[in-house]
Symmetry: C2
């Protein structure tokens, strides 16, 4: 039976991959992914066959992987972060219904939520939500509803895809919804280029976040009512008592 | 300046650690953790000094780490999964206010949500919430509110700490709250002993989940309205169109 590994490579740096991810790539004949992520791993596995498709060609990318597997190759489909969090694992299972002879194995990795949280301190230590602000595949009303419910229930929130060229004001709109239930001084954080060259981070208030422009390489963190700024780190307590 | 790494070791298996986590443990003189997790890494780093404290002695464990660091040792505080998701990173920053000369570096890992998701298929591919059912440090009313809001907003939900000896009926209660807004045939999944010996998983409906008993080594996944059972795998679509 032919096999495809669907591999989360983490933030991008070789050292941020798990041993299991490295082994899957080593065992593969073909490594397929979005151009940017393939470039990240190419240097370390130069003897492999590399295939890429651009953004918005995700379905083609999956079909390519299954065709290579059916031709007898061991294939790795790579995703940044975790393959199962806004990654390709879902679509691979969906497309895979047509390729019953190909086995899929998903290999988890460090997603931007936990990678970015580690940079900021410990913002996601307790219950939290992940919400993508991209309305490319999700109606904006549904995103608004999720933001509102997350704020009502005092979740910490991690926002993926907070901005793009066409959606410059989405983060502002999201903050306005969160501010209906969260305080203006709620501790928030931004991390850009997590685990890559040029990594930067900033801790700020929700009021400040509302008027901050971010780019598409930024992940946004909004604290819960207990989140504190401890010496420039964003820290959500879990509730342990200490003097 | 002395340094403490707060390291997420992932599900437990050596291969599931990132290269960065392995390097931190290699660089450390002392490795501190909960007894169970220390036992998981002991075999691979036998020349180190190992210190443990039992459950409910988390504050003591942190103080121990800072005292060793102040004495000039390089220390790793290890957590299963990710150190920043129901892990020790938060408490370390809180206790760390008293140890300004000790630097903390959090090293992310694969948490049970993404590790378990990879076993089940792709349940968390879109917006999701993590909720712990443990009311040891969180009032149960707050947990109920979060469950209710998560269901109203059609989030996929991952439940940590779904059961313990004293809380045998908590998962049932949680399912009853989710069922106020989620359909009985919502696709759900269970994974026990993620990435360890004896790993098992099961895909079932929310109605079935309500009457299922799980142990404390189980992570529970509840789909959103789009989640499907594809050949025994739990798959949440992201919304890509394909024929």
């Amino acid at each position: 039976m032919s096999k495809i590994y669907v591999v989360g490579i983490g933030p991008g740096d070789y050292e941020q991959m798990t041993g299991r991810a490295v082994r899957a790539l080593k065992e593969s004949d073909v490594i397929i992914g979005y151009t940017v992520y393939v470039d990240l791993v190419k240097a370390y596995f130069s003897e492999k066959e590399f295939l890429t498709t651009p953004m918005k060609k995700e379905v083609d990318r999956c079909i390519l992987a299954f065709e290579k597997a059916e031709a007898g190759k061991t294939v790795s489909m790579i995703c940044s972060g975790d393959a199962g969090v806004y990654g390709m694992a879902g679509l691979m299972y969906e497309i895979g219904e047509k390729y019953p002879d190909v086995e899929l194995e998903v290999i988890p990795g460090v997603t931007a939520a936990t990678g970015g949280a580690a940079v900021l301190g410990a913002p996601l230590i307790h219950d939290f939500c992940l919400i993508s602000l991209s309305d490319l595949l999700t109606p904006w009303e549904k995103i608004e509803k999720r933001l509102s419910c997350a704020a009502q229930a005092d979740f910490a929130v991690c926002l993926y895809n907070p901005s793009s060229k066409k959606r410059k004001d989405y983060l502002k709109k999201a903050c306005q919804i969160l501010l209906e239930y969260k305080a203006e001084d709620t501790v928030c954080g931004l991390v850009s280029n997590i685990g890559r060259e040029g990594e930067t981070s900033r801790v700020l208030t929700l009021k400040e976040l509302k008027d901050t422009e971010v780019d598409m390489f930024t992940t946004v963190f909004v604290g819960n009512s207990q989140t504190r700024n401890i010496g420039g780190k964003m820290v959500t307590p879990r509730g342990y008592r200490y003097e």
